[in-house]
């Protein structure tokens, strides 16, 4: 598996947050390709290669960064559908959201999230968080072999 194929799927509906996250990636020197989808349904379409993504092939991203508050299907719904399908059941998924509500954290982990990170208001802190995330999930972490 070469470095180029280690793609990131960013599920985020807020343009500002997309821009800031991409900026954080860049500033953390994470050069992995990033696919951005804008809602829960689109995220599942991408992951299961259907609808607009019918022709993209079967390759799965190395990391899914998932916001919780999304149009159509929310982040927890996406996670539930992912964990129910063998193609995405073991895919590393990090919840990156502005919510710190206890019930969201509990629900996220119960549904099989690998990490739960809260977006801080301070961009410097956010940058730090994204850097650590990238190092851990894209460099250190050994992913499960494809089934």
């Amino acid at each position: 598996m070469n470095e180029e194929s280690k793609t990131i799927l960013l599920v985020e509906d807020n343009d500002d947050d997309v821009a800031l996250t991409l900026r954080a990636f860049k500033r953390s020197h994470l050069m992995n390709p990033v696919t951005v989808v804008r809602d829960g349904v689109e995220a599942l379409d991408f992951l299961f290669s259907r609808g607009a993504y019918e022709d993209r092939g079967a390759a799965q991203p190395t990391l899914v960064i998932l916001d919780l508050k999304l149009p159509k299907l929310d982040g927890l719904g996406v996670l539930k559908a992912m964990r129910a399908d063998t193609r995405t059941a073991l895919l590393p998924t990090v919840i990156l959201t502005s919510s710190r509500e206890e019930q969201d954290v509990i629900a996220g982990y119960s549904l099989g999230a690998n990490s739960y990170v809260r977006k801080p208001v301070d961009f410097a802190e956010f940058l730090e968080a994204v850097k650590i995330l990238g190092i851990y999930w894209l460099a250190l972490n050994q992913v499960a072999p494809p089934q």
């Binding site: 500002d16 900026r23 509500e101 801080p120 208001v121 301070d122 961009f123």
Partner: protein, 489 residues
């Protein structure tokens, strides 16, 4: 009919029966007395008649003057007896009248014999006439004696009869009294004891929470009234209980609404702040060298304000969480907790030199998490407000106040003017300028909420420039109901 009316009726009936019995006994006693008097009278008459016969005999045999005088005396006695007022029944009166007539006749005949004797002419005709007279006298007297005996016997029979009547009346009265007593007992059982037992059952049912229990007593007496009042009371209780349940449901709904509100606050309000901070930083990083100092300062201010608002939102959410959190009461070691918080504070500001003194072994019954939040806020406040003091000292301890144990956190920091103490525990209320001591003004409001949730009272004492002391009274027993208190905050 009312129970009181029934009781009055029964008592009247009983009293009436008793009076009737007493009257009957009295009347029968009078009868006995009258009969006894009649008997005594008859006996005296019989004895007089007997005497009369004896003296008449004696006179007829010997014609002595003494006997004649005696006959006169006995006759006078008889006349007195006949004239004496004795109450008699019809038959006895007739018999007495006949006795009197016979007596008078015999006395008249005796006078005739006496007159004939007085003439002294003793011829055959005269003698036969005297014998005839004597015989008639003796027959009359014999008759009278027999009648007098009959009178005595009749009086005795009358006494017996009256006595028998007394026994009969008394017995009958006792039977009536017994019947009345039984009837009263039966009525008491049916109308008083029965309904009271049902009432007792109803109070037990309602006390056990069975609000739908209805007595439904139809009687119109006092106990019926009481049962109806009881039913009305149960209905009122049921109504207010269901109203309470309804408002509880409303509160639950409000609580849910608040939860979703705080969810959006945490999610949606923070998002623009992130953009403001992030893009300001991007500007600074990418174009910082082309901006002058004023522009860079403005961007820094935008960032600082965004971050400050982020903190405010977080603290508000924390305050809401303190209000909503479920209490899990357990033993909490305040001393250990305080030591831990002090260590963290010291690590976060290693350049500060603060002396802290924590009394050993302060145990309270409370929710560990909420107590930690309150203590954290109190100690962080003390830490902050002693930052401008040369030798900062913070104490955590207990003392006894009015017989109750009071925990306190005291410092020798900036303190505050007690004139503003009423604003101390309100959210976003600050007694110092932001530039002197930074803060959002939510800390003490949070402490106050925690204390309120536990039912502990919180107070403060301070003077400007002389430090502040916060004290609270951790009651041993936490009222669990307080968990439902103010669920909407």
């Amino acid at each position: 009919m009312k129970i009181s009316s029934k009781a009055t009726f029964a008592a009247t009936l009983m009293l009436g029966t008793m009076m009737l019995i007493a009257a009957s006994i009295g009347w029968a006693d009078a009868q006995v007395r009258a009969a006894a008097a009649q008997r005594r009278h008859s006996v005296e008459i019989a004895s007089a008649l007997n005497n009369m016969r004896m003296v008449t005999f004696e006179y007829l045999l010997n014609r002595r003057d003494r006997a004649r005088l005696q006959e006169q005396m006995v006759w006078e006695r008889l006349e007195r007896l006949f004239a004496s007022p004795v109450t008699l029944d019809g038959a006895a009166a007739r018999m007495l009248a006949s006795l009197r007539a016979q007596g008078e006749a015999s006395h008249r005949l005796f006078s005739e014999v006496e007159a004939a004797t007085g003439t002294g002419t003793a011829d055959e005709v005269q003698r036969r006439f005297e014998v005839q007279l004597s015989s008639r006298i003796l027959i009359l007297q014999q008759n009278s004696l027999v009648q007098a005996e009959q009178l005595i016997h009749d009086a005795g029979a009358r006494i017996d009869e009256a006595q028998h009547r007394v026994v009969l009346v008394t017995g009958l009265g006792l039977v009536v009294m017994a019947a009345l007593t039984s009837a009263t007992a039966w009525f008491f059982r049916r109308d008083v004891l029965g309904p009271i037992a049902r009432l007792e059952l109803a109070t037990r049912e309602v006390a056990a929470g069975n609000w739908s229990f209805e007595l439904d007593v139809g009687s119109s007496d006092e106990l019926g009234d009481m049962a109806r009042h009881f039913d009305a009371m149960t209905r009122a209780l049921r109504d207010s209980f269901s109203r309470l349940q309804a408002s509880n449901r409303d509160l639950l709904g409000l609580n849910k609404e608040l939860e979703s509100f705080s969810y959006s606050v945490s999610h949606d309000l923070r998002s623009p702040l992130r953009s403001m901070d992030g893009f300001s930083l991007a500007l600074l990083e990418d174009y910082g060298d082309r901006l002058d100092d004023d522009a860079r300062d403005s961007l820094q201010r935008i960032r600082a304000a965004s971050q400050r608002m982020g903190r405010l939102i977080d603290e508000l959410l924390g305050l809401a969480r303190v209000t909503r959190a479920e209490l899990r009461i357990q033993d909490v070691d305040l001393s250990a907790m305080a030591e831990e918080i002090f260590s963290t504070l010291a690590r976060s500001e290693p350049e500060r030199r603060v002396r802290w003194e924590v009394e050993k072994g302060i145990l309270v019954r409370g929710d560990r998490e909420l107590t930690a939040i309150a203590l954290q806020n109190l100690l962080a406040n003390a830490w902050k407000f002693t930052s401008k003091v040369e030798k900062a000292v913070i104490r955590v301890g207990t003392r006894v106040d009015d017989g109750e144990r009071v925990c306190f956190v005291s410092d020798n920091g900036a303190g505050f003017d007690m004139a503003y103490a009423s604003r101390l525990f309100g959210a976003f209320q600050r007694l110092h300028h932001e530039r002197d001591f930074p803060g959002t003004g939510v800390g003490l409001a949070t402490v106050q909420r925690v204390m309120h949730r536990h039912g502990w009272s919180l107070g403060a004492h301070a003077a400007l420039g002389q430090g502040a002391t916060f004290y609270f009274r951790p009651t041993e027993k936490v009222d669990e109901r307080r968990e439902q208190d103010h669920p909407a905050g």
